[in-house]
Amino acid sequence: MEYKYLGKNINRPDAISKVTGKAVYLDDIRLPGMLHAAILRPEYAHAKILGIDTSEAEKMPGVVKVVTGAGCPFRYGDNIRDLQPMAIDRVRYIGEPVAAVVADTPLHARKAMEKIKVSYEPLPVYIDACDAMKSDAVLIQPENGSFWHLPTLQPIPGTNIANVYRLVKGKGEDGFAEADVTVEGEFVYPFGSCAAIEPHGSIVWFKEDQTIEAWSSSICPFIIREDLAHSYGVPVSDVRVHIPDVGGCFGYKSDITVEQTVAWIASFVPGRPVKWVASRKEDFTSTLIGHGMRTFMKIGAKKDGTLVAIKTTVQHSGGAYADTAVNVTMASTHNSTGPYAFEHCDLTGFTVYTNTPPVGAYRGYGHQESQFATERLMDMLARKLNMDPFELREKNFLGEGKTASTGETMFKTNGDIQACLDIIKKEVYAHPQVREDENYYYGRGFAAVFKTPKGAPFSTKGCYMKMNIDGSVSVNMAGAEVGQGLRTVVRQVAAEALKIPPEKVRVYTEIDTQFSPYEWQTIGSMFTTQGGRAIIRAADKLIAILKHTAAQVLKTDEDYLEYDGEYVFLRNDPTVRVAVKDINRGYITDDGITIGDVAQAVSDARLPRYSNPDKNGQGSIGVSYTFGVQAAEIRIEKKSGKITVDHFASSYDVGQVINPKQIRGSVMGGALMAIGATLYEKMEFDAEGRLSNPHFFNYHLPTYKDAPRMTVEFVETPDAVGPFGARGIGEHSVIGAAPAILNAIYNATGVEFYEIPITPEKMKKALDARQEK
């Protein structure tokens, strides 16, 4: 559909401050009297702490306070309250805070930290869930099961299993009786780091008036506010959290991560703000990490290719604290069907304590890990059935009238994945495949994918808008701008809803819980959907106020009036009108008496009819679906095994494109991030739980020369929920790369891989082994 301000490239409101170096990120904030913290990390990934000697550190220059975890009376967490701000009697991962120094400068804090002596008694280390789940494994959290947790979670006390999630649809596993053919496999998506270029950091200030003020590189100010209030026994209204510009998130700055640790440290120096910013190494080892997922999957189909049953078991290495991992496991498990309809589903997800940093959100939130399995198996099934891989998928798409694993029925308004696939066929498969030559094998592969948000009953976003005396509008929301461009979206959606040019819409900059309307957290690719709805709802209220006033001025009924952004006027006679600028603070009559209200409005929006799953995992859990297809054309160097992605194509049904330049940038960034995970990125923990590559020179992020030519195209089937039909797209671009590239490797060489990343060494080894056969 044609809109006046949607589908247009307006520039980002924050572009100028970012290119002039004036954007303020966490580490750029300076407060009067600010102190600096350095945090000591353990020598072991799992050990009892026998003693901590801080006496030498206390004598060092500039030191104000040395802090340990001793005496900390609380645990925290939103799903499982198993987190603690600092280790007390044992350490459970290599980046855990053991002690901290507060000093006048960061250098003094670091120098003093080196003088802290800790003695440990090492314990067995478990990196992989499959080891930690064994019956004789030492318990990483001996109190597992007794922590407060959401009523929907099922921990198994006496084990390292923090949660078991179950979904049964139809006959479950018994459904395989109806299958003629099955395929199965075990797929591994290893640990990775979101690795935003801005590391994590926080400032916390315990004030003499009993209030707490905090700044953080985070997307969850209201979660931080509630968590700190709960932990320190103050009213939520007495905690004020600011979010400055955030230099990339990609998941790991969600939930509450480093803030509680910095708060614990700052609580020992009341009256002084304390800043801590992660080094790159700490950003790898001491914040949330991603993936760590092993997926066992079996798919059953009829001879004609009709899918009938799926069984998935996800073993998720959740890290030393499982609060942030449980929901990733669940999302991964219930969407492990991929974008296909299965009558029978038996899906199980285990979130398991392991001796790694806590695992949490990573762009894609579990979807790329399990759909890696689905999309590799779909290709294998097509070969087994001797069927075209496109046809097999087309036959089984989760289209109109079909039900998802959660029991939700799909409608036309959920999008057109077939149209996405048709685009991929045209862009990637219409030309003949490049033939093997002296130096290279060539291959192409694709993957059909989908994602839903991981919602929650209280997931909502607020919008406050006020119209100014000149008819310009200020919009205030609490969506965290991490680079995704949501402030541009706010500007365009508000302009469309209020029928005024985008230049007359000024969008908020920093978030401050003292002024910002409530938002749960900026997660799950939900801002455009929920936030956009909130904007439209607020705009409708604001326009209603204008009409209410205009009705009195024009002496008529409100429903007889129209609004066009500049005037409110009679429907049949636009010449009988009053200017918006004359009524937006009430209408001042000739004698100075003012009638009507100020044009300002507040609203919020949830995922409509989101529900908790029942005991079989059925319910309205997905709510907002986005489907798409991605494909890769690759080249494998025979000599070295090096894989080059020459062309990567993505096509999604996003309902309505709001800003073409931004959405293309978002999808390209996500695709490249996932190409990185497929070919290069893996956090290498050794048997002792130490990370051997916590730097950018040994954890390779894709660089300019690794980036392929990108095709990005969109289908626009309007959505029933989102603003002007728009859907979420922030995370979806990371899902298809691994299966598409691995399917392309098979296409090029006949080699099947089940685990990423595919390094040149791994590829070369596989090619050599193939030749020996």
């Binding site: 520039n11 980002r12 924050d14 572009a15 100028i16 401050s17 970012k18 290119v19 002039t20 170096g21 004036k22 954007a23 303020v24 990120y25 580490d27 750029d28 300076r30 979101c194 690795a195 935003a196 270029i197 801005e198 590391p199 510009d245 955030v246 230099g247 990339g248 998130c249 990609f250 080094s279 790159r280 991490v482 680079g483 995704q484 461009g485 330049k661 931004q662 293309r664 940038g665 978002s666 390209m668 960034g669 695709a671 490249l672 991030m673 730097h695 950018f696 020179f697 992020l701 660089t703 300019y704 020369k705 980036a707 990108m710």
Partner: protein, 158 residues
């Protein structure tokens, strides 16, 4: 151990009294309070800390401040003239190259160093310069587009 070190920063003579082994980025950010130069790693890999010293792009997180003695240093704050953006800033702000913006100042300074020294740099030379920087948001294509737009603007200006 502290020494007086003088250099020109964005056209102004500045003198600091610091340990000469202190990295230039710390002096720029923490002593001279210019926070536009960013720190994304501490070993010269990500490029966020890039500034231009004596006409060449350098990574200020691995450049000891002693090397800046007597030098002419330009940071991101030194490019715009009042309200007028430098052509590189203008192009990068319009090409879609800015998402989170954390790598942006370093990339702009890299291009500034390149184009000031070699206005006619080839696309291959531009790509080699961009390859020294990590961006997690954009997939790089819009940054290349911005760089090419900037080069054209700078050439047209002359």
């Amino acid at each position: 151990m502290e020494e007086k070190i003088t250099f020109t920063l964005n056209g102004m003579p500045r003198t600091v009294e610091v340990d000469p082994e202190t990295m230039l980025v710390e002096v720029i950010r923490d002593v001279l309070d210019l926070t536009g130069t960013k720190v994304g790693c501490d070993n010269g890999t990500c490029g966020s800390c890039t500034v231009v010293m004596n006409g060449r792009a350098v990574k200020s997180c691995i450049t000891p401040v002693r090397k800046a003695a007597g030098a002419d240093v330009v940071t991101i704050e030194g490019l715009a003239k009042g309200m007028t953006l430098h052509p590189i800033q203008k192009s990068i702000s319009e090409s879609g190259a800015v998402q989170c913006g954390f790598c942006t100042p370093g990339i702009i300074m890299e291009l500034y160093g390149l184009f000031e020294a070699k206005p006619t740099a080839s696309q291959a030379e531009i790509e080699t310069a961009l390859n020294k920087h990590l961006c997690r948001c954009t997939g790089y294509e819009p940054i290349r587009d911005g760089a090419l737009m900037a080069q054209k603007l700078m050439q047209d200006r002359k």
